[in-house]
């Protein structure tokens, strides 16, 4: 029997409530169940090959306590036997453990609620044929734009998901979302040089394909004229909105994470109330960003999602927390518990940044470079950012899509540059912020100009 998406939440809730009853019969002290159901259609394009996958991730994860010893187990599927396996396996771990976790207090208990995101039913109706046609359109637009377009890679992902959380504190909540995203990488080649243009779209509804192929093709072709910079020096660097959103998200993911703060891995640990950035810098961790497919009403422990002020006019205001670490730090839970991965039921909830929003500045997009004498514009891709040191903040990345800035004007494209600095010091190196933002997979962040990164190319 296939259920309607509208019935998923009540179905998941019923399965969790049955599981909680079963756990009671086993005499379990404290227990939490998380169950999720999702469907997605992913169409991947690589050159002329299409790779389409359809299916649903469905499963259950269980945290179980014996005294203050915590076990976790999960199973794919939400049948009674899957739920019972997870409960029994988690119980067996918690019974075997020797060391108590003395910092444990309780699972989430709250009647508070936050907003759910809009359910865009267009994703329920879109057919595999329509998506395949969309892929074709991206490909056609790109090839029509220029004969030097050599390859088109991309991924379109459309789907919907729901999840439910229940625990022995009496909590039983659900939320759901819909999503439609496109990433397109258009390659242009000439004289052994290959350049990539990026187009993307993030939303909660069926994606609009028009214009994306041409946009990315134009970027790729323009980069074919790139020249080497041939020097190493300190320069001012502007990151466009996509590059800046990835950079700022990386800069916050460890430093303001409550777990890193408490466990001795955050450079900001002792800096609440202190200046950590320029006075024009204000950042929110936003679990309630409308239009964002990541927006749901509750976090993965069932706590209401929040919008948390992290840096206010350069001053560090708050860290982000889940239930466990907010108790240890004696502060409010910020609703940042997240179970990672496509099989989220297999992960324990961990403090994770939601989408971030950086308050835009005043600088118009076409005047971005106006008072930069010598500098670099970096667009879209920051290669290797995930390998920077999240603890010290030192980063060294390669930016494949760059332009030279001279006397306030954006000039010719450059060969890939290596850009190095420190993510945390960078908050104090901000020269100005752009006045526009676009929703990216990392949140909403304007273009940002930084003073004195080390450029080598």
């Amino acid at each position: 029997m296939t259920l309607d998406f509208d019935d998923w939440e009540s179905d998941l809730l019923a399965r969790i409530e049955r599981g909680l009853k079963f756990s009671k019969s086993l005499g379990i002290d404290a227990l939490e169940l998380y169950a999720t159901n999702s469907r997605s259609l992913n169409v991947k394009l690589r050159g002329g090959m299409i790779d389409a996958t359809q299916g649903g991730n469905i499963g259950v994860g269980c945290r179980c306590l014996t005294g203050r010893k915590i076990g976790f187990a999960s199973a794919s599927g939400i049948t009674d036997s899957a739920v019972d396996f997870a409960i029994k396996a988690a119980l067996s771990i918690s019974k075997t453990l020797i060391d108590e976790d003395n910092r444990w207090s309780n699972f989430v208990q709250t009647s508070e609620i936050s907003k759910n995101g809009i359910i865009d039913t267009s994703v329920l109706e879109i057919s595999s044929e329509e998506i395949v046609n969309g892929v074709n359109l991206i490909s056609k637009e790109a090839k029509d734009y220029d004969s030097r377009i050599s390859s088109i890679d991309g991924m379109i992902s459309v789907g919907y998901s729901a999840f439910a959380v229940g625990n022995t504190e009496g909590l039983a909540k659900t939320s759901r979302t819909t999503f439609g995203t496109i990433e397109a990488y258009i390659l242009a080649s000439e004289n052994l040089k290959t350049k990539t243009g990026v187009g993307f779209l993030v939303g909660r509804g069926a994606p609009k394909f028009e214009g994306l192929g041409e946009y990315a093709a134009k970027k790729a072709v323009e980069l074919l004229n790139s020249k080497a910079l041939e020097k190493t020096s300190q320069m001012n660097v502007i990151f466009n909105s996509l590059a800046a959103s990835e950079f700022m998200h990386a800069g916050l993911s460890n430093s303001v994470n409550g777990q890193s703060v408490i466990e001795g891995r955050s450079i900001f640990a002792e800096k609440i109330g202190e200046n950590v950035g320029v006075p024009t810098l204000t950042i929110y961790d936003d679990g309630q960003m409308s239009g964002d497919p990541n927006m749901v009403g509750i976090d993965d422990e069932g706590f209401p999602r929040k919008t948390t002020l992290i840096i206010d006019k350069g001053v560090l205001k708050n860290f982000i927390f889940d239930q466990y670490y907010s108790n240890i730090y004696s502060t409010k839970n910020t609703g940042n518990a997240k179970r990672s991965g496509t099989q989220s039921y297999e992960s324990l909830p961990k403090i994770t940044s939601n989408s971030i929003s950086v308050v835009p500045g005043k600088r118009k997009i076409d005047e971005l470079a106006s008072d930069i004498n010598k500098g670099i514009l970096v667009e879209d891709i920051l290669l290797g950012l995930h390998t920077s040191d999240p603890i010290s903040g030192d980063f060294s990345i390669v930016a494949p899509n760059c332009h030279k800035i001279e006397n306030g004007e954006i000039k010719e494209p450059l060969e890939p540059l290596s850009v190095a600095g420190n993510m945390y010091k960078a908050f104090n190196q901000i020269l100005f912020l752009g006045n526009e933002t676009k929703l990216t997979p990392f949140g909403k962040v304007p273009a940002i100009a930084f003073k004195d990164f080390t450029i080598s190319g």
Binding site: N42, M49, A52, T53, Q54, G55, A73, V419
Partner: protein, 474 residues
């Protein structure tokens, strides 16, 4: 299960499918993660499901289900057929396969003494505790001590339109320690050590892979980095340690040999078979079952997820590009033999060309001789990974390094970021040591098209490479 899947395969064939394969994965993973002596995570995961690949008029559809009832599985296979039909009207490149002789292989076993999944949790807890004690004893000013144990076990079954039936039991094991120390200026330094492979728990009794050794090495690295200087920026010669050489082989070169990137011409190597791309010191192998001395240190992968026996692929031999890595479909397009490289992270993904164990073959130098030959430059050691673009450009971070002058290590370096283009780099390799090391991580693994982490083996000797760009400070 084989009978159930065969019945569905026949039904889908009767609806017009050209070829169908079905894969049942039942994987069990156990992980224990401790931070500062507290258990952060102790978990058991069971993941079971079936995925169907359906070929229809040159298009391929994939669908999967965790619900194993016959009715839902048949519906799932039908979905795969439907999306293959939709795609068939839009493709430029046809995905078809050459017939293969059916295989029946139901009794594959690896020779290990103490299977991790049969031993008690207490025994694994003890490994972690011993690692922690050793790290605390050897470290200095530790602000964070993280130690992680992971094991993978389970069963994979595969069958297809040809009547092939394969069943085997994957396994992987890892113990990893990460130590963070704070220096007088308040800067944080991180040290790391891990031992892993398709092995039994007896592995942690070997002298160089005891929990004590792992904890000690991580702590000593963090301690040394407390006083390390930032690596200089610019171009230098480098001695790449074994793990880093493995990252190079995998991230910067291996991905460019994957059949889908070759067919789509996304890889700069797509038209370069037979060309000299590297120096005489460059030979890179990708294989599923490593030679006896290394079998248990790498990843054991006898068959891929399309039921193809994994092959020893010589990607590049003495600098000359020899071979690419294929699924059955990319092999057919490029008129090559399938290499057993079609792999999926789990049943929720379609198999795509991925690497197996990828490594540089060793040379004949000792470490001392290699440093002498380097003369002046950077000795770059270990890495938490890196990434590469389709054009061959790459960046990866070494975990630590040394500045070398006159063939001798002078002082430790931190934040050693290497970048460049692999096609330039292979030409600049001018020597290799004789010690080959292979690594296969449970916690790490490869990412491609949203499928991560896929266990892969990587490795090599130590390599001397000229003219490598380093980021870092001036």
């Amino acid at each position: 299960m084989f009978d159930k899947l065969q019945t569905i395969i026949s039904k889908i064939e009767s609806k017009g499918a050209d070829f169908v394969d079905a894969r049942y994965d039942e994987l069990l993973t156990r992980t224990i993660i401790k931070e500062n002596e507290r258990i952060e995570e102790c978990k058991t995961l069971k993941r079971a499901g079936v995925g169907f690949n359906v070929y229809y008029k040159g298009a391929l559809g994939y669908a999967f289900s965790a619900d194993l009832s016959s009715k839902i599985l048949e519906q799932t296979a039908n979905n795969a057929l439907e999306i293959a039909k939709a795609s068939s009207r839009a493709i430029d490149i046809k995905l078809e396969i050459e017939p293969l002789q059916p295989i029946t292989e139901l009794n594959l076993k690896l020779n290990i003494k103490e299977p991790a999944w049969l031993s008690d949790l207490d025994e694994k807890m003890d490994l972690l505790k011993r690692g922690e004690i050793s790290a605390r004893e050897n470290g200095e000013n530790i602000t964070s001590l993280k130690i992680m144990y992971g094991e993978l076990s389970g069963e994979k079954k595969f069958t297809n339109s040809e009547g092939t039936e394969i069943q085997w039991n994957p396994l992987l094991l890892e113990l990893m320690c990460i130590v963070t120390s704070k220096n007088q200026q308040g800067d944080l330094a991180t040290g790391y050590e891990a031992k892993n492979g398709s092995n039994g728990l007896e592995y942690f009794k070997n002298e160089d892979s005891t929990p004590e050794e792992i904890g000690k090495n991580a702590a000593l690295m963090a301690k040394e980095k407390m006083t390390a200087k930032a690596a200089p920026a610019g171009k230098f010669s480098v001695l790449c340690e074994n793990f880093l050489a493995g990252v190079l082989a995998h991230e910067t070169f291996g991905h460019l040999t994957e059949g889908d990137f070759i067919v789509s011409k996304g890889s700069p190597l797509h038209n370069k078979l037979g060309e000299t791309l590297g120096s005489e010191y460059v030979t890179i192998i990708d294989e599923g079952v490593l030679p006896t001395d290394y079998t248990l240190k790498g990843l054991w992968l006898p068959y891929d997820d399309q039921g193809v026996k994994t092959k020893r692929s010589v990607l590049i031999e003495k600098g000359i590009l020899k071979e690419f890595l294929h699924s059955r479909a990319t092999a057919k397009i490029l008129k090559a033999e399938p290499t057993g490289n079609a792999r999926a992270v789990n049943f929720t993904f379609a198999p795509i060309p991925r690497m197996k164990n990828t490594y540089f073959t060793p040379g004949d130098l000792t470490e001392e001789e290699a440093l002498k030959q380097l003369d002046t430059g950077i000795y770059a050691i270990k890495s938490l990974g890196g990434s590469a673009e389709f054009d061959g450009s790459f960046i990866f971070q070494a975990l630590k390094g040394y500045w070398v002058e006159n063939g001798e290590k002078q002082y430790p370096l931190k934040d050693v970021a290497l970048s460049g283009n692999i096609l330039d780099l292979l030409k600049n390799i001018r020597g290799a040591t004789k010690d080959l090391e292979i690594f296969s991580s449970f916690f790490g693994g490869c990412g491609k098209d949203g499928q991560a982490p896929l266990p892969c083996g990587i490795g090599g000797p130590k390599l001397i490479i000229d003219n490598v760009r380093f980021g870092g400070e001036q």
